[in-house]
């Protein structure tokens, strides 16, 4: 089954990154991606631009609403995601425990509602 990890972190923790910081950050996440790949469970990942660049769109109720900013204004914001393919939630939790973001923020685990092929 496919599981998506939504990585919530405090942007203050990652503010003012130098290019060297950025390289070090990529190395740590690269190691995690490497472990997921080695285990054959990796599907997709992305690292998102900071939350102040978010645009939130809604057509609910028939009127178009465009909001400059995130849907929810919280201290910890959505910073990236991983999609992995593992048999069950136990396995997804084992991998979420290894995700670098879990040590400095929160990882929300959501199973795919699309079923598996």
């Amino acid at each position: 089954m496919r599981y998506t990890f939504l990585l919530y972190t405090d942007p203050a923790d990652l503010a003012d990154m130098t290019p060297a910081d950025w390289e070090a950050e990529k190395e740590v996440y690269g190691a995690y991606i490497g472990a997921l790949n080695e285990a054959g469970v990796f599907v997709d990942t992305d690292w998102l631009q900071p939350v102040h660049t978010a645009t939130t769109l809604s057509l609910k109720g028939g009127t178009k609403q465009v909001q400059d900013g995130p849907f929810a204004d919280t201290k910890e914001t959505l910073g990236g995601f991983f999609v992995i393919d593992v048999p069950d939630l136990d396995a997804a939790m084992a991998w979420a425990e290894k995700c670098p973001a879990v040590k400095v923020g929160k990882v929300e685990i959501r199973a795919s509602a699309m079923g598996s092929e």
Binding site: A12, D13, L14, D21, A24, E27, Y32, A35, A94, K98
Partner: protein, 399 residues
């Protein structure tokens, strides 16, 4: 790393930790002391190659770092700048140039008011001089976030006035236990993530604690436990595959670490108290004894796990004991023991499924064994364990 390079590396670490502990215990400001010491090392790298290494490098580094601190803290009075460090005669090579404040520094790093997941990173940074980025890479945690958290922790240590001293006898044991547990956590992390190579750091810190608190039996036992586990490191992963302890090639075990571990454990045995680390170290010693006897004493392991479960119950120990029971009284007895703990193990504990799969395979229940291997593989997150379990499963498919 060659052994002489390793000795030089360890000697440099020893100097770094001692100097930083001394400087920060005087300034109560770890970050400031780190900067001053870093400046002193930069100057040393600049001057020593041309002018030669001073007769007493530590005294030179200390004086240079102290001068840096004086420059920066001229307006502050907290740092005593006069008569604190006498001018050293150039030929003085006595080891006790200045007091060893590393125990006080470790007490600060593992202070109850500091978040427990920062205890080990603070120890690695201050006592061993590892950079925050290196620590982050070893623990797979965001380097930027860890650097900021360590900076905030040091500011708290300074601003909240966390004392640089050895606590009273009344609280000393529990404070020492916090340090021991942090070091044990580092060792356990290294053991679960074999690729990271943090074992040397865990052993260094544990050995340092035995020197700083030579009468503490659990500290001695912890150093023995780490040394005896670490002695098996080269035999534990072969061809990128995890090798269970009982199948390891004992000729690959490290004799020097075994000697150290046995000697240190013997010192722990002479103390009156028996704790969790002593039992875990004794379990390691039983495994190590196979190197001489050619066999594993399952009876002794069974008794030791029983004792361990009395004072420090854990799922890991329960599973390990079930596996030992399987060796001692046959696979059916092992399976019964695993059945008995099923509720406690839940469904997400990988060692439980691995142990169950191996016992079912022994009993010839191939289909059930394959199902359990697959569950264990799905829960494993390091490639050496995944390869071992996959090989065992595939052997059943082909068997």
């Amino acid at each position: 790393m060659t052994s002489s390079a390793r000795v030089a590396d360890m000697a440099a670490r020893d100097s770094y930790g001692r100097l930083l502990a001394y400087l920060s215990s005087r300034t109560h400001d770890i970050a400031l002391a780190e900067d001053a010491l870093a400046d002193a090392f930069v100057q040393a790298l600049d001057l020593w190659p041309t002018r030669g290494v001073p007769d007493n490098p530590d005294a030179w580094l200390l004086t240079t770092a102290r001068n840096r601190l004086t420059d920066r803290q001229r307006h502050q009075t907290r740092f005593p700048t006069k008569d604190e460090i006498p001018d050293m005669p150039a030929d003085d090579t006595s080891p006790a140039l200045f007091p060893d404040e590393r125990l006080a520094l470790l007490m600060v790093c593992a202070h109850p008011s500091i978040a427990s997941d920062l205890h080990v990173p603070l120890m690695l940074q201050t006592v061993l001089g590892l950079e925050a980025k290196t620590i982050a890479r070893l623990f797979l945690v965001s380097p930027t976030a860890l650097t900021k958290r360590l900076g905030r922790a040091k500011a708290k240590i300074r601003d909240a006035g966390i004392p640089f001293h050895i606590p009273d006898a009344a609280v000393l044991p529990s404070r020492a236990t916090t340090i021991h547990e942090a070091i044990y956590g580092l060792h356990a992390y290294d053991w679960l993530n074999p690729a990271d190579d943090l074992g040397d750091e865990a052993l260094y810190l544990a050995d340092l604690m035995t020197k700083l608190m030579p009468e503490n039996s659990e500290g001695l036992a912890l150093a023995a436990l780490i040394a005896l586990s670490h002695a098996r490191a080269n035999a534990r992963i072969v061809n990128q595959t995890l090798v269970p302890t009982e199948d390891q090639d004992t000729s690959l075990w490290d004799k020097r670490l075994i000697f150290y571990g046995r000697q240190t454990l013997a010192r722990a045995y002479t103390k009156a108290t028996v704790g969790r680390f002593q039992i875990e170290a004794a379990i390691e010693a039983v495994h190590i004894a196979r190197k001489d006897s050619g066999r594993t004493d399952w009876e002794a392991l069974n008794k030791l796990y029983y004792a361990l479960l009395q004072i420090a119950p854990s799922l890991g120990a329960l599973v390990a004991q079930a596996a030992v029971v399987g060796r001692l009284h046959g696979p059916q007895a092992g399976l019964d023991a695993l059945d008995a703990m099923q509720d406690q193990a839940g469904t997400g504990f990988q060692p439980y499924w691995a142990a169950r799969a191996m016992i079912l395979a022994e009993l010839g229940q191939v289909a059930e064994a394959i199902t359990c291997f697959e569950k264990a593989i799905s829960l494993a997150t390091d490639s050496a364990t995944i390869t071992l379990l996959t090989n065992r499963r595939d052997a059943l498919h082909h068997g």
